[in-house]
């Protein structure tokens, strides 16, 4: 079942909208088995949520994404976790990763304007006690996200019938 779980997750990761009855046929399981397994994985927080992948560039909504390199002082007994929590609690923050290498945390922020993001960094992020420095990089264009290339809808060029 461990292998089957992996396959279910791989399919759901690409298409969380898939009908459990289809999934059951594809994997040679019953629908009940599939539904049970998914519910179990939700309970175990292996499945933490279901997202929709949106290319916001194609909408009229103004939105900017910034990737911020943050250097911090880790705290005794708590390492980086405490300061990471102080940061990820802000609703503007979409993702926080602890990094190896030249800086400590990657913080991904979304806002409606560059100014809004810059103000957040200046007022909320860099003023935190443990934060030593920040470097803000704005995202100009997203080519590929979550394994999906945004401009990749090409049509089937195969000959319609071939031996």
């Amino acid at each position: 079942m461990e292998k089957m779980r992996e396959i279910i997750l791989e399919i759901l990761e690409k298409n969380s909208k898939i009908d459990p009855s289809d999934l059951a046929v594809m994997l040679g399981l019953t629908e009940v088995e599939v539904v049970n397994e998914i519910q179990k994985m939700e309970k175990e927080q292996i499945i933490c949520g279901y997202h929709t992948l949106i290319n916001w560039d194609k909408t009229t909504k103004e939105s900017v994404t910034a990737l911020i390199e943050v250097k911090v002082t880790p705290q005794r007994g708590e390492g980086f976790d405490r300061i990471a929590e102080r940061i990820y609690r802000f609703h503007e923050v979409k993702a926080v990763y602890l990094m190896s290498g030249g800086f400590d945390l990657t913080v991904i922020i979304e806002g409606s304007t560059m100014k809004e993001v810059a103000l957040f960094v200046a007022q909320k992020l860099s003023t935190l006690d443990s934060v030593l420095s920040t470097a803000t990089h704005f995202v100009l264009k997203k080519y590929k996200d979550h394994g999906l290339i945004f401009e990749d809808r090409k049509k089937d060029e195969r000959m319609v019938v071939s031996p």
């Binding site: 396959i7 399919i11 289809d22 046929v25 594809m26 195969r158 000959m159 319609v160 019938v161 031996p163």
Partner: protein, 388 residues
């Protein structure tokens, strides 16, 4: 041009049954097709990238006739790793322009006038015409649905004559999706050796088998390596149909003669493709697995779809085709395919395009997304319900 300039032998060979159907389908706008005989995946990027890199480095000249030694070596490692086959890359391996060239070369290299070639049908369309062009006599063994289109000892025995020289063994099979398990192969080996036959084993779909049975090459069975030519290629396993990369592995004297024909007719397989193929054979095992997992899921959707609409459909364990029986509808294969196309705009290939024993069946490819397959199945069900 005056027709008399054309070869009579070639004029007498009927055009492929697929071709005829292709012409009807292409006239039809917005038809959805289950008629394709190639993967829907793009060639994995790391393989394409090696092709591009070879061009950047100016690798644009001929290779040796038999193909790049590095590629031949890499394929020999691969065959050993995956199918327990051992070949010498120097003398027992030839790189061909797709698996198709291998079929042509093999038949031309071995047939003398009057030699009989056993061809189990339904099968891929080119064995018979290639055998005729090579001057041999094709002898069809019609396979039976009740045996799930496997070649049995009894079927084989019934068609062997003193003139029989070759047996073409096309498994996993296009169009039926049938496979030959180790047990099935063992059952016919004795007969092959007893009658001193030579086997052309077309294993182009070797990587695409489903369920517990992994593909077994007949060449890996005792006593068979010296009387088997293995044909394979990169088209199906790595989604590389357009690169035209195939290979033949077999006894040195045969490879030598095949290389002679290849040298005069082709020179060498495309160089860019050969560099890409090195990367595929070396680092492509995971890609194969990924695509195979997807095919297997679609295969289940399709088999269930046909069974749910009341058609008999044996479980195909290889390639990417299902071969359901449409007998219950009262149509012939060709009528079924034509009516389905006109009434529901779905293209499938009549079983008869792959030999007369395909009558009563249609070939449906599952090299499509699950969503596309579901739409096609709905339309086919709509059609079938009108007649059964």
């Amino acid at each position: 041009m005056n027709e008399r300039f054309l070869s009579k032998k070639i004029k007498d060979i009927p055009p492929s049954g697929i071709r005829k159907f292709f012409d009807i389908v292409t006239e039809m706008e917005d038809a959805i097709s289950l008629g394709v005989g190639e993967p829907d995946f793009d060639t994995p990027w790391h393989i394409r990238e090696e092709g591009i890199y070879s061009l950047e480095k100016g690798k644009t000249v001929y290779t040796s006739n038999a193909g790049l030694m590095e590629l031949r070596e890499e394929i020999c490692y691969y065959l050993h790793r995956r199918f327990n086959l051992t070949y010498d890359p120097k003398t027992e391996m030839l790189i061909t322009v797709g698996g198709s060239e291998g079929i042509d070369l093999a038949l031309r290299a071995m047939l003398n006038p009057g030699d009989e070639v056993l061809i189990p049908e339904p099968c891929f369309v080119s064995y018979k015409p290639c055998a005729v062009m090579a001057g041999g006599e094709p002898v069809v063994i019609p396979l039976k649905a009740q045996n799930e289109f496997r070649l049995t000892k009894e079927d084989l025995e019934a068609y062997i004559t003193p003139k029989t020289k070759l047996l073409v063994l096309p498994f996993p099979n296009n169009p039926t999706g049938a496979i030959m398990t180790q047990k099935d192969l063992e059952a016919i080996v004795e007969l092959i050796i007893q009658h001193d036959l030579f086997v052309i084993s077309d294993e182009i779909y070797a990587e695409l088998t489903y369920g517990d049975e992994k593909h077994v090459s007949i060449a890996s069975l005792p006593g068979m390596k010296e009387r088997t030519l293995v044909l394979n290629g990169f088209s199906k396993a790595y989604a590389m149909t357009g690169w035209r990369m195939g290979y033949a592995a077999g006894p040195a004297p045969l490879i030598k003669v095949m290389t002679k024909i290849h040298q005069y007719a082709i020179m060498c397989a495309p160089t860019t493709s050969q560099y890409a193929a090195i990367e595929a054979a070396r680092n492509g095992d995971e890609d194969i697995q990924r695509m195979k997992t997807a095919y297997d899921q679609r295969r289940r959707v399709m088999v269930k779809g046909f069974r749910d609409m009341g058609l008999d459909c044996f479980e195909p364990l290889g390639a990417f085709y299902v071969f359901p029986s449409i007998e219950k509808t009262g149509f012939s294969s060709e009528e079924f395919a034509t009516q389905l196309l006109y009434q529901e705009k779905v293209a499938v290939v009549p079983g008869t395009a792959f030999g007369e024993s395909g009558e009563g069946f249609i070939r449906c490819s599952y090299a499509y997304s699950v969503d596309a397959i579901k739409v096609a199945l709905e339309r086919i069900e709509h059609f079938v319900k009108r007649y059964i």
